[in-house]
Amino acid sequence: MTDSNTTRREGDGGRRRFLGGLGLLSMAWAGGLLYPVYRYLAPTIPKDPFDAEGKAPVEGVKAEDIAQPGQGRNAGFAGGGLVVFRTPEGELRALSSKCTHAGCNVEFQGGSIHCHCHGGVYDLEGKNVSGPPPKPLTRYRVAEQGGLLYVYRPDKA
């Protein structure tokens, strides 16, 4: 019976270093095995919501829902929430619905856009006019095709 790991002998330092190294190597190996697990769990990078022509379909609202000036509603597309409306002059607009303050979804209220979480207010161009929001809402070019609505990738400023 060999007493391999209780008494400390001469020359054991080299062996202990080897064992220590082996232990570290094993842990590194086990860590390496976790790479596929990490890839499995890691959220995938969302695909570009815009197609080859830079267009993306809007879901949750059809052209007929906002045919009249002053109509508007919350909707969305693959890249996030939208507030889609028609200005009193009849122009069709789409803005990101994500409030730049803390991320709540804003609401169209006829002449302005409000965020109910902390009272932020934006005008119909998306500019932050009152309350805590530090920046304007992202604006998307929107067009109608065959009764459905599409937004376009924002041009780089």
């Binding site: 391999s4 790991n5 769990l41 890691a42």
Partner: protein, 370 residues
């Protein structure tokens, strides 16, 4: 308990690294708060007998290894599996999620290897007579574990909700229903009604990820505790040797060192099977569709399935009685077998064991090829 620090025993102080080293400080700090040195000392000196049949001692640990893989990959699968959309979520795992196919295939193959190892573990314990006093409790808990692991297999099999899952589960539950007395009631309870539906998935899912894991983990704990307290069972020829001739290996780390390569090979086997034969996902289950040709249960149920086929018509009850008697006899073996030396061949207990093993293998192969 008294509200003070404990004195670290003399012996512990000698064995720990010196007090100026980090590990030494840590060891002293822990032992002063948790007086567990007797347990540490016990484990330190744990020994495994060395003899001709010692290789079989590895089977239990190997089964535990495969079980650990099941828990790990099972948790991963649960991240993306949705019981309300069973087939679609499994398809997503297999087709879209990075390495999803690998995780699922490993889960499938590890289940099969675990049950195979469990059978090897049970039969080797049987033939080495490890069930004898004082180890009757370990044996009974072990048999219960085997049954629960087969229930794991049965419940998990349905979850992908493909053709194969659905019809194999149906076949299994129909057989269960035929059992007199409790059969129909139990089948109905498991199914959540008269037929296998998506409601069944909810019940099987809860069984598979909560109820069975709790039960199995509890029983494994008992099983391992019993083994630690009682030590490894020794064959009579070994036990009869004079003390100086009995060779033992210290578990930490000599025996463990010889176990690691075996676990590495088991892992490599698992990865090889998953890489070369990934688990297929068949078409989504159609409860009204025709069953696929040649549908049969998974291999570990084939022996019973084939055996029941041997008892047609009214003889079915005889077949089922047999299915019930065999596990019962297995459970009672420790109470029959007392005096005969464990190395002797030819007693009726050995013969019964050989008959069971041969019968099991023959029926399984027969079920496979028919």
């Amino acid at each position: 308990m008294a509200d003070h620090m404990h004195t670290v025993p003399e012996e512990a102080l000698k064995e720990l690294p010196p007090a100026h080293k980090a590990l030494g400080k840590l060891g002293r700090a822990l032992l002063a708060r948790f007086p567990v040195w007797p347990i540490v000392d016990f484990l330190r000196n744990k020994k495994v007998p060395e003899h001709r049949h010692a290789a079989w001692y590895m089977m239990g640990g190997l089964a535990l290894f495969f079980f650990a893989i099941q828990v790990f990959t099972g948790i991963l699968l649960m991240v993306y599996y949705r019981p309300a959309e069973p087939w679609q979520s499994v398809q997503r795992i297999v087709m879209e999620v990075p390495y999803g196919n690998l995780m699922r295939s490993i889960h499938h193959w590890s289940a099969n290897l675990m049950i195979l190892t469990l059978f090897l573990h049970m039969f080797s314990a049987y033939f080495m007579k490890a069930y004898r006093a004082p180890r009757e409790g370990t044996w009974l808990v072990g048999l219960a574990l085997l049954g629960l692991c087969m229930a794991f297999g049965f419940s998990g099999y349905l979850l992908p909700w493909d053709d194969l899952s659905f019809f194999a589960t149906n076949v299994g539950l129909t057989e269960m229903e035929k059992a007199p007395g409790l059969g129909p009631w139990l089948a109905s309870l498991l199914r959540g009604g008269p037929a296998v539906t998506t409601d069944t998935i909810g019940r099987f899912y809860v069984l598979h990820v909560v109820v069975l894991p709790l039960a199995v983990l509890g029983l494994i704990g008992m099983h391992l505790l019993f083994v630690q307290i009682q030590g490894m069972s020794e064959p009579d020829s070994f036990a009869a040797l004079p003390a100086c001739q009995k060779k033992h290996k210290k578990f930490f780390f000599d025996y463990f060192a010889s176990e690691i390569p075996v676990w590495l090979a088991a892992f490599a086997l698992l990865v090889a099977l998953s890489a070369i034969w990934p688990r297929a996902l068949e078409a989504e289950a159609d409860p009204f569709g025709a069953a696929p040709l040649g549908i049969k249960p998974e291999w570990y149920f084939l022996a019973q399935y084939q055996a029941l086929k041997l008892f047609p018509g009214k003889l079915e009850y005889a077949g089922m009685a047999l299915m019930g008697i065999v596990p019962l006899l297995c459970a009672l073996v420790p109470f029959f077998d007392r005096a005969v030396p464990s190395d002797r061949r030819g007693t009726w207990i050995e013969r019964a064991g050989v008959a069971l093993l041969v019968g099991f293998v023959v029926l399984t192969v027969w079920g496979w090829i028919s």
